[in-house]
Symmetry: C2
Subunit: 234 residues, 2 copies
């Protein structure tokens, strides 16, 4: 994206992105900002970028914002969605876009475990690489889990997340769902403040940065295509 | 699949497949048959194949059938589903699983054009490589087109299809939908019996062999994941 912007604007561009997407993680609602002094016709920027970007990146919309705006630092909430495909047989057509779990999943057990994570907690047990400032307290405002046919959709919203926090939460909830862990363990895991107390890290391919909210009310939400069709299973 | 079966059964295996899937075309309901004289525990065949097959192939179910059964020649009907993603911006997350069309599509014009193709016709104008016997008459029993949000789902059922027939039909219907062609042209295209009379060949990535029906009532239907969520758009 920086290379394409540099080519269009004729000056080096450094972008700021709202949310982390590690290798293999998708983004359907990423927001990116940059500063430029060129007088480019911005209503044509999406189209122009389309011809320069590699096929796995797409720009949905562009807007001119105040100089003080930062896609990363002005964001007030991020929403991640995680997709699990639960069926005994292999699922090649969804392999890149959902975590295939062949063991039967008891969604009610995940739902029973989830409330303990909502609100402000020290999520050190769910953190991969610790942040520079060593502050591991975060506030999850919403955590919803629902079954849709043989898919499970997990949506987590917070002001900010720690490294691999969503994937570690999903991995731990899954261990509750398959019976390897008791849903009542979650408060104990939080109190441990130790990564070894939590469960496995779910693979990146099921994770989507789905939306970012800003103080002015703007929200970039993009539902992952695998969940585009509402809740009626055909 | 033949290599994996050969390794499991210890004898060379030749499979027969119900429907053609050219490079880039998906199959969510393919049926394959083979003959073996080994006494393998067939209830464990899916699982055993799972550990030997490459990640882009999966076996959903297996069954023992009569020696006269052929996945290809015993099939009475095949159903293909074609997925179009219609939006002005790029769509990287669906690029491998739908045809991205950025021009606005008038679905009603596709629906107006479709009925002329239903029933028995000479589909030579919609045929890539002519079949060995040079017979190009086929019978389309169903052709349904519906919009679902910014996706369009096209479902075509026939006893058999010619080479690239579905993709050429989709390409021609799309030219009607974008206004390049009049829906009333379809009967003229059929009568021409000339590939040059029809429209472009739609790309393979939007096409799925979704189901195969047999005389005994067995049907292998598997809805493409991109359309798994019924008709309610969220």
């Amino acid at each position: 994206l920086e290379d394409a912007l540099c080519e269009l604007l004729g000056e080096p561009i450094k972008v700021s992105a709202a949310g982390r997407t590690d290798a293999g993680v998708h983004a359907s609602g990423q927001v990116v900002s940059f500063m430029s002094f060129r007088n480019f016709p911005f209503e044509r920027l999406s189209l122009a970028l389309g011809s320069l970007l590699p096929p796995d990146v797409g720009v949905r919309d562009t807007a001119i914002v105040e100089a003080s705006f930062s896609a990363r630092f002005s964001a007030t909430e991020r929403t991640y969605v995680y997709a699990i495909h639960n069926r005994p047989e292999r699922a090649p057509l969804t392999a890149r876009y959902a975590w295939h779990v062949w063991r039967p999943i008891q969604v009610a057990r995940m739902q029973a475990a989830a409330p303990a994570l909502i609100g402000e907690h020290d999520f050190r047990s769910f953190c991969g690489i610790l942040p520079d400032n060593d502050i591991t307290v975060r506030r999850i405002s919403q955590l919803r889990i629902e079954a849709r046919g043989d898919f499970i959709r997990i949506e987590i919203t917070a002001g900010g997340f720690l490294h691999r926090m969503v994937r570690t939460i999903v991995g731990t909830l899954l261990e509750c769902a398959t019976g390897r862990r008791d849903p009542a363990e979650l408060p104990v895991i939080l109190r441990a403040r130790d990564r070894r107390a939590a469960g496995c890290t779910a693979p990146p391919n099921g994770l989507y940065l789905a939306g970012v909210r800003y103080g002015d009310g703007y929200c970039s939400y993009g539902e992952p295509p695998i969940f585009r069709w509402g809740t009626t299973v055909s």
